[in-house]
């Protein structure tokens, strides 16, 4: 293998490039970066960067010299437009065709707009560093903010806006914030966190229309006809995999790039990170995971398998979310219908740990302001529920 092209230069693509070098790949390595910045870390964008605690200069994933040291041909601000699997080339928007022997697709996600959403001043989505800086500038100049969507991103943005002293209203179609992410037993704690800080929540409501004046958003009307005024509206309702450039290439696309258990999408073609839908080796189903650490793990796995390691990718998913003084951390995968067993503390308290159970198996463990405890509990994931009883008997 003489030449590897990696499309996407955020966590998955960058970690794959680093891994290829560490594992001894000595050929040409091209990293196609569709953004205007070298790879940066996204989780701080809705928290420390938006809040102003972390300057944008601190979000770089790797120091500037990394690219030179790893002999990476880093193409910044260049987008992949098409893949030709017969010629084994990637067409980029400069018109150049990049030949490859090995390809790693790591093009990630973009923010999903509301149906009919148009471009208005003050109307934001948050995915990139530039998005975060523009949103921060608008937040600082505003007094009232509406956040549409109460998942991780929406709840974090709402919390940050509140910390900046803005009046905040959250709108979400479900009955609780983070209901899908944390389930019905833990999500009330998120609701309580928002309410106790004076955030208004309009739950089981959707935005019917935006109000505008002179090209700027001035508020929304909900489906119950309630009008809400605001100078800033943030839409945080999820994301869309960036796979359009692969249409017609012969790679299978289905809400992401479809891969086998080795993250392999085709002959010498692998995918990693948010964009990759891979066949989980134990669950017997395909998954796409949009978590920060997963992107690094899958970038490592895809790079190793491209080099012939032949190891199925079988991670223990991990995610966290921070809002106000709350840090929630989860190992495993939560289904909102899972049963929750409290392991320590209480659900209304400042700190607790809990296990999620489905069909007699532990699917996830969660820590609410309990980072050290939840890390110690992670070996429970995948075990039978009886393991919780022995844990209780041991007085843990």
């Amino acid at each position: 293998m003489e030449r590897v092209v990696i499309v996407g230069a955020s966590v998955a693509g960058l970690t794959a490039a680093e891994t290829l070098r560490e594992e001894g790949f000595a050929g040409e390595l091209v990293l196609v970066n569709g953004e205007q910045h070298a790879g940066y870390d996204r989780p701080p964008l809705s928290k420390a960067v938006l809040n102003g605690r972390m300057p944008p200069s601190e979000v770089a994933l790797r120091p500037a010299e990394f690219y030179l040291e790893h002999r990476i041909d880093h193409r910044v601000g260049v987008r992949a437009e098409a893949l030709d699997l017969r010629d084994r080339t990637v067409l980029i928007d400069t018109g150049e065709r990049l030949g490859f022997d090995g390809l790693i697709v790591a093009t990630g996600l973009r923010a999903r707009p509301l149906p009919g959403q148009s471009a208005l001043g003050g109307l934001h989505m948050l995915r990139t560093l530039d998005d975060a800086q523009q949103l921060r500038a608008d937040l600082l100049a505003s007094s009232r903010v509406i956040v549409v969507g109460a998942g991780f991103l929406g709840s974090e943005v709402a919390a940050t806006a509140r910390e900046l002293g803005r009046d905040v209203t959250i709108v979400d179609p479900l009955g609780l914030p983070m209901l899908r992410q944390l389930g019905r037993d833990v999500a009330p704690g998120v609701l309580q966190a928002h309410r106790s800080r004076g955030v208004d929540l309009r739950l089981q409501r959707v935005v019917r229309s935006f109000h505008e004046k002179d090209g700027r958003v001035t508020g929304v009307t909900l489906d119950d006809d309630e009008p809400i005024e605001a100078q800033v509206v943030v839409v945080a309702i999820g994301s869309i995999p960036n796979t359009e450039w692969l249409q017609g290439s012969g790679l299978m696309l289905d809400d992401g790039v479809v891969c086998d258990e080795f993250c392999r999408a085709g002959e010498g073609v692998y995918a990693a990170g948010d964009v990759a839908r891979w066949q989980h080796p134990r669950l017997g189903t395909s998954l796409r995971i949009e978590h920060r650490m997963h992107a690094a793990e899958q970038g490592i796995a895809a790079a190793r398998n491209l080099l012939g390691a032949g190891v199925p990718f079988d991670p223990l998913p991990y995610f966290w979310t921070d809002f106000y003084d709350v840090k929630v951390q989860v190992f495993g995968r939560i289904d909102p219908d899972d049963e929750v067993t409290l392991l320590s503390g209480d659900l209304e308290g400042r700190s607790f740990t809990a296990a999620y159970v489905c069909d007699g198996s532990i699917t996830a463990v969660l820590g609410w302001n309990a980072p050290r405890q939840v890390r110690r509990l992670n070996p429970l994931v995948g075990q039978r529920v009886e393991a919780l009883q022995s844990l209780a008997a041991a007085g843990a």
């Binding site: 650490m293 840090k327 980072p371 050290r372 890390r375």
Partner: protein
Amino acid sequence: MIKIHVDEHKCVGAGQCVMTAPQVFDQREEDGVVVLLQDHAEPPLEASVRKAVKLCPAVAIRVEEV
């Protein structure tokens, strides 16, 4: 041999480093922020530390050759 640096302000308390190289990393009880048990590592431990650098979801660990 490598020297290990951690950034407590960036750390999000994921504990991935503790799982990857428990001889080198621990977490504070109250907030899970990283605690360095030793600030140097040699092979074979060095490989685990480098893996922790790659997996850290907050880019809070850095190593330098010494």
